[in-house]
Symmetry: C2
DNA sequence: ACCTGAACACCGTTCAAGT
DNA sequence: ACCTGAACACCGTTCAAGT
């Protein structure tokens, strides 16, 4: 029964099934993934190095799909392009975010994305130490708004009376729309403040 | 043997032991927590509603310790006060961050903190929808930089040559210092761009 | 080289039984 | 009311055995 003539698994099949599993909302894990692939959990270890490696594989596969490789030119185009791409990725795969958050990034494509951003900032004349800070800030934005997407209406649950928060949440546009608005405002603010920092105060 | 004359557990004891366990770096879980308390895992369920409730308990306890209840006055003082407090919390308990990230906030003290921020923004004349967006941005900053603290030098691991990122990481101030610098720059930028949005372009 | 099946050391949670 | 002990349905990972 073991070892059919054509392989049942491959790194690509595993990665795609993992993304499907996470998107489905069912609890993510090696065993659940093996079930979805119609295979024994131990089989996966012939192709992949365990749970964390599978998650990093998902990050890499999705990034290759969403991150524009050709984002180039001015620093602001790179910042906006990178953030919008990450935003689209997280918007379409919100349940991926809690899985990848806090895990070390090793995928070459993702590294290349942050490297392009760092390079564009250096080219714009930002000093070295500040470049890393700004990349960290962009990353914080992306992940923060990603988390916002992962739990659209369930960030705060005030069981106690509030002066303002409860009223705002009741009146706010629901879920995705509210999150989109927050992202756009945040992106505007980020680019504006970066511009001041990089190009100096604007005097039109 | 069961049921000694004085109780072995309480919500406070459980919360404190949970924080100690998370800080220790050992894998966090109900069983490990019970071991640390010298008690059976099922005993915890007499005081607390399972793993997620314990985590929310930790968030509440730490917030009561770090979040200033008396932060009041201008919107900028509230933003800076709140973010600095969260920063100190996450800096001293970095391993808490991956546990609380993405979990719904229900603790009244934490809710009150975000409510104070929302109220200060409303008082400053920010329109309702934008208030929620700005609160989300502040939250994104806090959590983003918290994650930065949780894995100081392990955010990116480029196994492949990079144009800029690798050089910057090698030359950057290590760990906490680099992260602090990023936070200060980010906070500056955030407040500056909020000021433009709230008070209009500055003409000194 | 690739897959299975058994095994290991764990999880989180429930529940009857004890005091 | 509070704690134990047994039980349940899971985990992630390793490894010998099969082809």
């Amino acid at each position: 029964m073991p070892r059919p003539r054509v392989n049942l698994l491959s790194v690509e099949l595993i990665a795609d099934a993992a993304i499907e599993l996470a998107d489905s909302g069912e609890p993510f894990g090696v065993n659940a993934l093996a079930r979805r692939l119609g295979v024994t959990p131990s089989s996966l270890y012939n192709h992949v190095d365990g749970k964390d490696a599978i998650i990093e594989l998902m990050r890499g596969r999705l990034s290759r799909r969403y991150l524009p490789t050709a984002v180039t030119g001015e620093w602001d185009a790179v910042v906006i392009g990178t953030l919008r791409a990450l935003r689209r990725l997280y918007a379409q795969h919100p349940l991926i975010v809690p899985l990848i958050v806090g895990k070390t990034i090793t995928d070459p494509g993702v590294i290349a994305g942050y490297d392009r951003l760092a390079t564009a900032l250096v080219d714009a004349g930002v000093v070295d130490d500040e470049v890393l800070a700004i990349v960290a800030i962009v990353d914080a934005y992306a992940i923060g708004f990603g988390m916002d997407l992962a739990s659209p209406d369930e960030i705060w649950r005030p069981d106690v009376p509030t002066a303002t928060l409860g009223r705002l949440m009741a009146g706010a546009a629901e879920g995705a729309a509210r999150s989109d608005a927050a992202f756009e405002i945040g992106l505007d603010m980020l680019v504006a403040s970066l511009r001041v920092r990089i190009e100096g105060p604007q005097t039109p």
